[in-house]
């Protein structure tokens, strides 16, 4: 019996190989499908534009460069990498509110560190944006204490009012809506932060007013830069 089986296998070994191969491929395709359709983990795959290097020349303004020197001086010599987080904040201020690869490479050169050291930091912290954002970034708190005080309703109201989903930017480029974790202002829940400003005890009426104010301000002039650089010193 065993001998017969081996003989058959030998004779048909090519066919067996094919069958096994086809089966393997089928299993792979199928499991991929299963993962795609049902996989909880799949929505966690992060795509970010780290590959979009444009090789444009990037340079901070005079004032910003002066600040950079002052910030680096706060840390012991040789430890200039410590200035990375503050510098990335300034970089976002200087360049349209987000960090492009070129900007990050520039910051790396300012601190004399490898670009990868900047990327790994920029992708870790939630306040660094790797993609273009609106002029006003609305960060609505969605954590427990705010949520039990009506934060979820405020978030859906914002989505409705701006006609975008959380994470998106309005077509006019005025607002980006983000959901963030506890802003450390739970006593005045629900809370949101727009640029550097806190807005507390939110109601739908307040949201109407805040959005109207920001929209009209944007029409008059370029919206003021947030106070980050000014307040830094």
């Amino acid at each position: 019996m065993g001998v017969a089986l081996v003989a058959i296998l030998l004779v048909f070994k090519d066919i067996v190989k094919d069958i096994v191969g086809v089966a393997l491929v089928a299993i792979l395709v199928l499991s991929n499908e299963i993962i795609k359709n049902n996989g909880i983990m799949l929505d966690k795959i992060i795509t970010h534009p780290l590959h979009e290097k444009k090789n444009s020349t990037v340079c901070f303004s005079e004032t910003a460069l002066f600040k950079v020197q002052q910030i680096i001086a706060r840390y012991p010599s040789g430890k200039q990498k410590s200035a990375l987080l503050p510098l990335l904040h300034i970089a976002q201020e200087e360049f349209e509110g987000y960090l492009s690869v070129d900007v990050m490479d520039y910051v790396a050169s300012l601190l004399n560190i490898q670009p990868i050291e900047v990327y790994e930091v920029a992708t870790f912290y939630s306040q660094y944006y790797l993609e273009r954002v609106g002029k006003n970034v609305i960060e609505i708190c969605r954590t427990g204490p705010c949520a039990i005080c009506g934060g979820e309703a405020i978030q859906s109201y914002l989505e409705k009012k701006l006609a975008i989903k959380t994470g998106e930017t309005t077509p006019d480029g005025l607002f980006t809506l983000k959901a963030v974790e506890c802003l450390g202002a739970c006593g005045s829940a629900p809370v949101m932060q727009i640029n550097t400003e806190f807005y507390e005890y939110l109601t739908t009426e307040k949201i109407d007013k805040i959005l109207a104010d920001l929209s009209s301000k944007a029409k008059e002039e370029k919206p003021e830069k947030s106070l980050w650089i000014e307040e830094f010193f």
């Binding site: 912290y125 005080c149 830094f232």
Partner: protein
């Protein structure tokens, strides 16, 4: 029971400025410490005071200071932990915004005691306006000879710098904070070595919370034993409690340890009772990481004693019937609050904030979030509840930093005390008042079914 240490002068107009702060007796401690005391004297007084860290763990500050490696010839550092991101906690922001010089005063005395010539204040990135306030206070202190070279004509030098984070809860953990201050991702380090031996730039470092450091001025001025006369037992001094949730008067209150939870919750002087005349359902007494307690257990211990606001009283009963003081973030839930939804919400928070270094935390928080999401959305199965308990148990104690525990405890305690609500969600999902919020599309549902 309403003596104060930190906020005595909070209502004085202009207390944020150097002039006014000084006129209320501010910075006297610096003169006393530098001119009349040796660094060891200061440490001795802090030990005597029994002051415990206000950042969450409650570790005695004097003891932490005495661990600082004295033999090392490297520079020493003091870092003020102003990362305040524990949900429900907003007391450090209050101190820094209203009375920033109190922190600078405390830091100068502490740096003197520790022999540190550089101090950093690590402020969470969202508090940008606080950076401005602190920098102004520091500028005034330099101008008045309290910082810089040869402070007050002595040979002591000290610089204090403000450093801004960029949005990461984990950077509140002291070794993650140090990594972040070094310009890296906020990945906690394996301990030991502790920061007191190998900290910032490999040097001996002490990390203390804002509120902890704000107490040092009083201790130097009045002596450690005077400080220890405040409070009860081993909970000496006062504590800032930040109260939020479904109460009439949310805000920051300074209480003397030993105040009863009942008085804190219902008296007009503090929380002012539950909003809209509703009933109390539960309280998270020390920031989102500590176990949640139902109304009966937060007001009275299992042994029937009045529960007090103090490290010991809140911990009475262990995790079976007690909780922790934590950071003092007091979150109150009324009868309408959905415990399942809140537990899901907090678990999502921890999943989002996990730095991802250890698999029990990175994966465990994700699984708990998914399972809770499924239950909250009416697709839960009876076995899910025990599944949650077992995931939580597997995270707890098996991670590099305590964030893993902090994620496990809320889930374990919510199920311990409110199992019936979880079961109700599994059996009759439509009965929850929150069911209107649920709007799942088919893809989401399919995913949930396959968890």
């Amino acid at each position: 029971m309403d003596r104060r240490i930190l906020l005595n002068n909070i209502a004085v107009p202009g207390i944020r400025t150097f002039e006014v702060f000084r006129s209320t007796g501010g910075y006297l401690s610096v003169m006393k410490a530098l001119k009349e005391m040796t660094p060891d004297d200061v440490i001795e007084e802090v030990k005597k005071s029994g002051l415990r860290g206000r950042g969450g763990a409650g570790f005695p500050a004097g003891m932490k200071w005495s661990f600082l490696d004295k033999k090392s010839n490297k520079p020493r550092y003091l870092i003020c932990n102003a990362d305040e991101s524990e949900p429900g906690t907003f007391k450090d922001r209050f101190l820094m915004e209203k009375i920033p010089h109190l922190l600078i005063e405390g830091m100068i005395c502490s740096c003197y005691a520790l022999g540190a010539e550089t101090g950093y204040i690590y402020v969470r990135g969202e508090f940008k306006y606080i950076v401005g306030i602190l920098n102004e206070a520091i500028r005034e202190a330099y101008q008045n000879g309290l910082l810089g070279k040869n402070i007050l004509g002595t040979s002591i030098n000290l610089d204090i710098h403000v450093h801004s984070g960029a949005g990461a809860y984990i950077c509140g953990e002291e070794t993650a904070l140090i990594e972040s201050l070094e310009g890296k991702r906020g990945n906690p380090r394996i301990k030991p070595p502790f920061p007191a031996v190998v900290g910032l730039y490999g040097s001996p470092t002490v990390v203390n919370n804002v509120e902890t450091l704000c107490n040092i001025g009083f201790i130097v001025n009045q002596g450690g034993s005077e400080f220890a006369r405040y409070g009860v037992g081993k909970s000496t001094g006062t504590k800032l409690i930040s109260a939020c949730g479904n109460i009439n008067n949310p805000g920051v209150y300074e209480i003397e340890f030993g105040l009863s939870v009942r008085e804190f919750l219902y008296s007009e002087k503090y929380c002012g009772g539950i909003k809209n005349g509703k009933e109390l359902k539960a309280v998270i007494a020390g920031g989102s990481s500590v176990p949640i307690l139902p109304a009966n257990l937060i007001l009275k211990t299992a042994a029937g004693e009045e529960r007090m606001l103090s490290y010991e009283s809140l911990a009475e009963g262990g995790f079976v019937s007690g909780t922790m003081l934590g950071s003092g973030g007091f979150i109150v839930f009324d009868e309408d609050a959905c415990i399942v939804r809140n537990t899901w919400n907090l678990t999502r928070f921890y999943h989002h904030e996990s730095c991802g270094q250890c698999s029990p935390c990175r994966e465990g928080t994700g699984w708990m979030e998914n399972v809770l999401h499924r239950i909250e959305n009416g697709l839960g199965k009876a076995r899910d509840i025990d599944l949650l308990v077992s995931i939580a148990a597997k995270i707890e104690g098996n991670t590099i930093c305590p964030l893993g525990d902090a994620a496990a405890w809320p889930v374990a305690s919510a199920i311990r005390h409110f199992r019936h609500e979880f079961e109700e969600h599994v059996l009759h999902p439509e009965s929850c008042k929150n069911s209107a919020i649920r709007q799942l599309d088919n893809v989401q549902i399919r995913r949930l079914e396959n968890v």
